[in-house]
Point group: C2
Chain length 484, copies 2
């Protein structure tokens, strides 16, 4: 519930339709893509311009009301989950592509612009916006920056942080700030990377300058079948160590390809234990030469079959299976839990083998569909929320996968963020000193921890509590919803 004074003050700052407080209006905002956690917010503000964002933030700052910024709500880590005493600040009306500069190869966009809409707007200039998360039809660029989103093409073209030049935002105090700029480097500390992936904890983003990339002349994808999963993992390293930088290098195991084939008929080889998709792009001669090398490396690495797309239609068909993998899995299981961890490429064969063992140990099926080229795993744990004990087993299985990622020198998130989901993992990944510095940096921007409270970085106190709850090795505790 919002204090009635605060409500009146916010109402004075916004048009009537831009402030929602009744439960039927605020309930749609109770969760994001991680539906397991739900909280109805005290209010939802939907400002129309930056001045209104400033006004709302100033008011919330003065009244010590928490604020959670929200884009399309596609976060998979609860990054946009509301605070029950707080305001959800929706950027849904910030949908303008302000300018495209084909000479500088940049676009200035508002945070509510959908990822794919940038590429569509840049297409007439022969340009595109490279990072392409699976949710790119729906997710917005503001959320992409907040989570430092990745995607299939990030191996060659980089993550969001590598494709953003400037971020404009508003601090909780109402002060307007800019990170980065038109120049490649700037004096002072580099805070552009800090705002990327800061999960809404430092500022509310109001405008972004993104880099645009020239569209490659041609692209071709090789589909390779393997009769064991570890072999496919080893082939990933073989491709990279051959000096090839594919524009996409994705792995799907048999559980995934079978589910996909029933759904989109992408003509994947169903008897294969794993399938690799390896894309080359660039000039025609470059693609031809790289594809010949890819064929050779995949054959040497033990592929039982390698098919190369003959034309653009076949290339899109091969990719259609990968792009539809998550909904396809959704058709064969009541529920699934999409994990996100990153490991060094060389650890792929051993980690994939270990996940197969864990699947048997926990008695839960697991499908693997992931960005193999940059070691970003997405094991999907298949479960039934209505079956006795399966939710707890699923969470324990997921936690074991994350600990495995840390053990081999990887991290607990590749592109989905920490949000509320992985706070406990942060206590395992980082030392108290590291967490203290994170908290000090947070305090440099938001000393009262009003922006997206209880997300991203746990307090040391919270880590101590998690530690007590940690009943046996191999299992992280249930990721609760803590507060700073």
């Amino acid at each position: 519930m919002l204090d009635s004074n605060v409500h009146a003050q916010l109402a004075a700052l916004l048009p009537p339709s831009a402030l929602l407080t009744s439960p039927e209006d605020t309930r749609p905002y109770e969760c994001d893509g991680l539906t397991i956690y739900r909280t109805v917010p005290a209010a939802v503000a939907i400002p129309e311009n930056e001045s209104q964002v400033v006004a709302v933030l100033k008011q919330c700052y003065a009244s010590r009301v928490p604020v959670v910024a929200r884009g399309a709500g596609t976060s998979l880590s609860g990054g946009a989950m509301p605070d029950k005493n707080g305001v959800v600040l929706s950027l849904a009306k910030f949908t303008r592509i302000v300018a495209i500069d084909p000479l500088a190869r940049t676009a200035i966009v508002q945070p509510g612009v959908r990822n794919l809409a940038i590429t569509e707007a840049a297409a007439p200039y022969g340009l595109f916006y490279a990072p392409d998360p699976s949710s790119q039809i729906a997710c917005t660029i503001g959320g992409n920056v907040a989570e430092n989103a990745g995607g299939v093409h990030c191996l060659k073209y980089g993550l969001t942080v590598h494709n953003v030049r400037r971020v404009r935002g508003v601090l909780i105090s109402g002060e307007i700030v800019e990170f980065g700029g038109d120049a490649l480097d700037s004096p002072g500390y580099d805070l552009l990377a800090l705002i990327n992936g800061s999960e809404g904890l430092l500022a509310v983003i109001t405008e972004i300058t993104v880099k645009l990339t020239p569209k490659p002349q041609q692209a071709q994808v090789a589909l390779a079948a393997f009769d064991d999963l570890a072999g496919a993992g080893a082939a990933v390293s073989a491709v990279i160590s051959a000096g090839i930088v594919p524009s996409g290098l994705e792995l799907m195991d048999q559980a995934a390809t079978r589910a996909v084939e029933e759904f989109v008929h992408a003509r994947y080889p169903l008897d294969a234990k794993a399938v690799l998709l390896v894309e080359a792009d660039g000039m025609a001669e470059e693609v031809a030469s790289e594809m010949a090398e890819i064929r050779r490396v995949l054959a040497d690495a033990g592929a039982t079959e390698v098919r190369v797309s003959k034309d653009e239609a076949e290339r899109l068909l091969f990719w259609s299976g990968r792009k539809a993998a998550f909904p396809a899995i959704g058709r064969i299981t009541p529920d699934y839990y999409c994990m996100d961890g990153t490991i060094p490429r060389k650890a792929l064969p051993s980690v994939l083998a270990r996940i197969e063992e864990l699947s048997v140990q926990f008695g839960l099926r697991c499908a693997n569909v992931f960005h193999a080229g940059d070691g970003n795993l997405h094991p999907l744990i298949l479960y039934d929320a209505n079956a006795e004990g399966e939710v707890a087993r699923t969470e324990a299985f997921g936690a074991a996968i994350l600990e495995l990622c840390i053990e081999v020198g990887g991290t607990i998130t590749g592109e989905h963020g920490v949000g509320v989901e992985k706070l406990a993992g942060m206590c395992v990944q980082f030392s108290p000193g590291e967490l203290e510095r994170f908290l000090a940096i947070k305090a440099a921007f938001d000393a009262n921890a009003l922006l997206n409270p209880g997300k991203g970085v746990p307090t040391l106190h919270r880590c101590a509590e998690f530690g007590k709850m940690r009943v046996h090795q191999g299992n992280l505790p249930h990721p609760d919803i803590p507060r700073f």
Copy 2:
């Protein structure tokens, strides 16, 4: 002078040869590449391993003694200038290449390894380390990270920050910290970019994992002559807007080419007002196609002559002039002041024209040799330190160039850093709120401001003092040596 207690304590931590305190031993450390500022330190510590670094820092922290880390001392902004009451911590003994992993395309190196030595060590694997500052024969990778160094190839391959995966260092408290890691992204705030370009203010670097890049099959360079400087500036934009990403795109004006020609005989066209060097690299077919396009664009942009290197020997000859430009200028003037600012590419023609006007206004010659592709200017102001008033005029000219950079949306440094040189410029570039956040971030790592004090980020008090000294618009005040 070091307190005798502190001296005794440091002496107990280090081998006798690793602690210098007599003036004849410490004087060689009084300045770096920016020789205009000199301070003899109280002591110089030359630790042999990380444990000794930790011990020295712990002792200095306990005794509140300032510490300035130093690599090869090639900084052009006074980044390694000592504090007279402090210890210079030299990383000169940290020269080991710890490991090269051709599969992961990374090298683990100590901070005292020379930039070029990494490329030499990676060559047997067909790899190289991409950022190549002009000082790459001498400068060390630790300093490259501290200053976020650039170079000719940064347009295509990125700055230091884009080529570093992990930085290990020691805080002033003695705590060992790691930034980044083997994975492409990591949870928590992205502090890897923060340590890059932090100018020794946050931690002393003890180990770095750099990315290595596959050596291109082929490279070719076009040398284009222009009969006016602004036209050459416009041609830079034309190349980029044609969708070409050259591996190098450098501009030299007539003052520079004439000085160079006398020195290295690179066969530059001496009647041209400006020369562009545009390099393409990649596969043979790719280079051929890109070079044809570069030729066409340069001709359309008004080049009076375009020559393309016929073989590797000619390519190196064309580059020899660019690489030798600074010493060549040194031959034709008693002194020169190398400026460093960055502007949006589209502003190149107008800014170059304005610099020519300023040259007349201040009565000082100016040569331009710079990374045109990424808008990183290096105007060299030619002066004679012994001529009445020339130093002051030079500084005023330099300040006017930097203000011009800010005016067109650029920044006061491209790759040389702020150091002691550009503290006043920081007050112009950033708002008090921005500086306050920089200082708060500094405090998260070094609350007592003991690491490299008086560099990088001015206090608000200091900015107020600069403001009072600022006598008339267009001229920044003399860059003094302030303290936090």
